[in-house]
Amino acid sequence: MRLLTTIAMDGTVFAAILFLISVGLTLVFGVLRILNVAHGGLYAFGAFTATTLAVWLLDLGANPYLTYLMLLVAAVLVGVIAGPLIERVFLQRVYGRAEAIQLLLTFSIFLILDDLIKLIWGTKPLFVSAPYTLLGEFSLSGIRYSWYQVVLIAVAIVFGGVLVWAVRGTRIGKIAVSVINDREISQAIGINVNRVYVGSFTLGAFCAALGGALIAPTIAVAPGFAVDATVLAFAVIAIGGMGNLEGAALGALIVGLLRAMAVHLLPEADLVVIYVAMIAVLVFRPQGLFGQVELRRI
């Protein structure tokens, strides 16, 4: 019984982290139809910025609870600066071109971001644990967990909820959905598609950076740590359905629980299960669990 609750708890914490990483990726794919390989770079940028801001705040001797605010500030900074920059300067030049080209463009940006991080922050790992330890611990079935891990889950749920409401419930969201479904018609009825694109990409960048910022207090932030996260994000959105928010949540949950189960029951398989699941879903339901079948347009 204790094993079940442990697996459930570990799995859900993973899932929260994965959701935060993946939701931005699926959003960008949904609107722009581009798989943004540079997503991992933005995630890393968010983590580094957050750590630097938090450490700076702590060095000033301020209230440690403010570090949580710093995490958010870091995400906003990265999203608002990197998002429009990448979209306007690079991405918009390859809309409508071959998909291979678009993918390679984002891959190039990923390489650039990776080295930029080394240039800005050096190559040593950074640590800040105040946000992680500040909230204390609790016990579940006799196993202690950090409250921060629960905060991650809560943030993932709330954030996901906000995004879904924004897409379904607000006017901007409906405009975005319209652009997703048919760009030409949307332009024809007067929607400023360019603005939707920039906005969506910026939101996606913000999501990536937020994921990184929230993870940062729990790990050693070092150059290169985004490479694994990127491919996990691909797996999550492929399983859930690319472009679908609920899909990202479900995909994250599946991957998170699978990994937790593997670690506890069959550690040899913890890497492989994720890709097996991805292949299984893609083979039987190529559009993902919640994805929509795309009609081929002639």
Partner: protein, 323 residues
């Protein structure tokens, strides 16, 4: 008048490559050998780029070839280059034949994702089965033999070089013929209009499947060559970044031609070695910027730049001749 110049350049290039071991220092010889070996895998990826399909998983076949060598050395103490080359190619083709059954149905980003998933699954297996594969430590490949002959140490590198050059030459010829064959034309048609392929009686899925098997063989070949050249293989040979590098080089060299990827591969290896020596924290960025420049301004890659230059030179000479 202009076209006469084009065949000259490849001949000059081939001639240069033939004399490299006699002229260049050992270190550069090593880089060119590595570049030619990887070029074979890049060519495999380039085939798909022509069909507007990106594969982020061809590292899988590359790893299959490399680990074929690794296991052969580990279990049988057998490290013969000439025998293991076709073995690697067959294994690569075999894996591609299996995986292709699933993959040939998909296009666009799903094609890329599925490829990625399979290659990462192989990566996970190679990584985790420590007692079998050595995990992240990888496997050493030892000193190779050539049909039983063990060359003296001073010439080992030269043997490897010419073997690689020979394989690269054969591969160029084979792919050239493949692209001139009906399958090759249909492959290009996949990028333009798949429905037309179906209308003309061919199955798009069949075209993709056959190309996939051929590309698997190429990947396996490359893996064998690199395993012997470097001497040590690791699970990262199947990692998605390795696939990304192949796609990158295909674009850099220009996937429209068969020789472009070779130029791209040589350029890439040289840039990577010397840039990472002098700019360890900036060379990736430099590569990224070069790529961006190519994508935005000259998507045909280095080969297209060469063709444009050759055309301009050819035009000027014919103008002079007319004048």
């Amino acid at each position: 008048m202009e076209t006469k110049r084009l065949p000259l350049a490849p001949a000059v290039g081939a001639g240069l490559l033939l004399v490299v071991p006699l002229v260049l220092p050992d270190w550069m010889k090593f880089i060119v050998t590595l570049a030619m070996a990887k070029f074979v895998a890049v060519l495999a990826v380039a085939l798909f780029l022509r069909a507007n399909l990106v594969t982020f998983g061809h590292a899988m076949f590359y790893a299959v070839g490399a680990y074929a060598v690794g296991f052969s050395v580990k279990w049988f103490g057998f490290g013969d280059v000439v025998v293991l080359l076709p073995v690697g190619a067959l294994l690569g083709a075999g894996v591609a034949a299996l995986v292709g059954l699933v993959i040939a149905r998909y296009r666009e980003v799903f094609f890329a994702m599925l490829n990625l998933a399979f290659s990462m699954m192989l990566y996970g297996v190679l990584l985790k089965l420590y007692w079998l594969t050595g995990g992240t430590d990888g496997l050493g490949v030892g000193v190779p033999t050539f049909l039983g002959y063990a060359p003296p140490r001073e010439y080992l590198r030269d043997f490897l070089y010419y073997t690689t050059l020979g394989v690269a030459g054969i591969v160029i010829y084979v792919v050239h013929r493949f692209l001139a064959s009906p399958l090759g034309f249909y492959l290009r048609a996949l990028a333009d209009n798949e429905i037309r392929i179906e209308y003309s009686g061919e199955s798009a899925r069949r075209v993709l499947y056959h190309t996939y098997v051929v590309s698997g063989a190429l990947g396996g070949l490359a893996g064998v060559l690199v395993a012997f050249t470097v001497g040590h293989i690791v699970p990262e040979y199947s990692f998605w970044i390795q696939s990304g590098d192949f796609v990158f080089v295909a674009l850099l060299g220009g996937y429209g031609s068969v020789v472009g990827p070779l130029i791209g591969s040589i350029a890439f290896e040289f840039i990577r070695t010397y840039a990472s020596k002098y700019f360890p924290n900036e060379w990736q960025m430099a590569l990224g910027i070069i790529m961006l420049a190519i994508i935005l301004f000259r998507p045909g890659g280095l080969w297209a730049i060469y063709e444009a230059l050759a055309a301009r030179v050819g035009r000027r000479t014919s103008e002079r001749q007319r004048a």
